[in-house]
Symmetry: C2
Subunit: 268 residues, 2 copies
């Protein structure tokens, strides 16, 4: 059975996502460590978060795939994020003074935290937050039901996130991408010549004239100064399709840097 | 003298930026609280970070300006970010086990932290991190020289950031934007119709045909689901210029939502 590495610890949303593709799971502490484990062949697949519908891109995943690792996206997984207020058994709402969670989870529950006048604190992960409150009745954590279960805690308020459109997209990375399935997406990264105006406009025009739909466009700083960007674009089609192959060739001619992150089945 | 609110506490990079436009400064704990203070007329100007050249946009500033506050950008300030390793007097490099800082500062010094095998921890701000290590010789903080000075600490290693292209852009928000100076920028936010392909391409085409240079394009999740975005675009010119007025009118016709954040002098 294939070994799958994921961004741990156990009890995080990434754990939940990784579980959807297999059981032979190994947690790693950081996103680069997950990717490194795939490069070193300690695992065949690595599962890391790439974007959240409320908080946006996971910068370190995008930056790692762009600059540091030569890995491909083999698959994608999208799961709804329901944040829960987790406490020790017997804690009442009025006992809670402090709440711990990952910075993204804190951001996702901002209105709830302010309304209930609880002091927020950052933890390395939602699961780590849950572990840290064990035995303390004035502290709560924000996380998924798996975290509560794992540490013998209970959910005092479910679904405390500010928005109900909260979902996270994870990518499964591997040394190779996926063969065509007939319903695929392709992810690319490019940067444009800074001294030529209209660079992004020209690249988008290539998709436009071929009637190919973009499912994502995300800008990231290129780390070369303010106003200089890498663009992460996802679109429908497989890189082995003739039309997509031609589009990629044309983009290559119009960009300073292009990296094809891979083609993989669209999540359903 | 005009009252200026800024994202505190004292000793942060935002404090440094706010100091460049005045001396009558009041710190607030969160970015929304700074903006609120301008709305409530506790201050005339509010200074908050909006983007960093390495880590990207400050999500809560963009989201607050887009959705929650009807404020204008009156000015911009750009400062180079030099991160320093701060310790108690007498601490040696080999004594340090833990390092505390804001998540963006930790991210900016990732290579240094890994290389020196120090355990990173998140703090609410760089200044707060400095305050928290006082008296503890196994702990260090990452922050600016103002933070070290403020809390009687010393810099054991200067400039520990991974990249030298590290600068942060701050915006000065107020109830009104700036009158034209002849060398201005304008910031807008828009979202495109999801059901019509090529929306972003069409908007960029308006700038292209008028030969107006974009200085920034940043995507943010619209919070309505994956693949749905708000675009933050900055470009040269003042909204009172005829050409810019026409561009804005044309964008209005092609977008689902448009908000002009204001025109202000370009930072030099």
């Amino acid at each position: 059975m294939s070994v799958i590495s994921f961004l741990g610890p156990k009890g995080t949303f990434t754990h939940e996502a990784a579980n959807m593709i297999g059981d032979n799971l190994i947690p790693y502490c950081t996103i680069p460590a997950v990717l490194e484990s795939v490069v070193n062949e300690e695992s065949l697949y690595g599962v890391v978060p790439i974007e959240n519908s409320i908080e946006g891109p996971v910068g370190i995943t995008l930056d790692s795939l762009a600059h540091k690792f030569d890995l491909k996206i083999f698959d994608e997984i999208i799961i709804p994020i329901n944040q829960n207020l987790i406490v020790n058994h017997g804690t009442r709402m009025e006992d809670i003074e402090d709440v711990y969670s990952h910075s993204q989870a804190i951001a996702q529950c901002q209105e709830f935290i302010v309304k209930n006048k609880i002091q927020p604190h950052y933890a390395v992960s939602t699961a780590n937050a849950a572990k840290n409150i064990i035995g303390n009745k004035t502290k709560a954590a924000i996380g998924n039901s798996k975290a509560a279960e794992l540490y013998g805690l209970e959910i005092i308020k479910p679904n405390i996130q500010d928005s109900d459109n909260n979902e996270t997209r994870f990518v499964v990375v591997s040394k190779d991408d996926h063969e065509p399935t007939g319903c695929d997406k392709t992810s690319i990264i490019f940067s444009i010549y800074e001294d030529k105006p209209g660079g992004l406009y020209n690249v988008l025009g290539i998709f436009q004239k071929n009637d190919i739909n973009l499912t994502k466009i995300e800008s990231r700083p290129s780390k070369k100064g303010l106003g200089k960007y890498l663009f992460f674009v996802d679109f429908n089609g497989h890189r082995n399709d003739d039309i997509i192959r031609n589009i990629i060739n044309e983009i290559q001619e119009k960009t300073y840097f292009l990296k094809v992150l891979g083609s993989y089945p669209e999540f359903r």
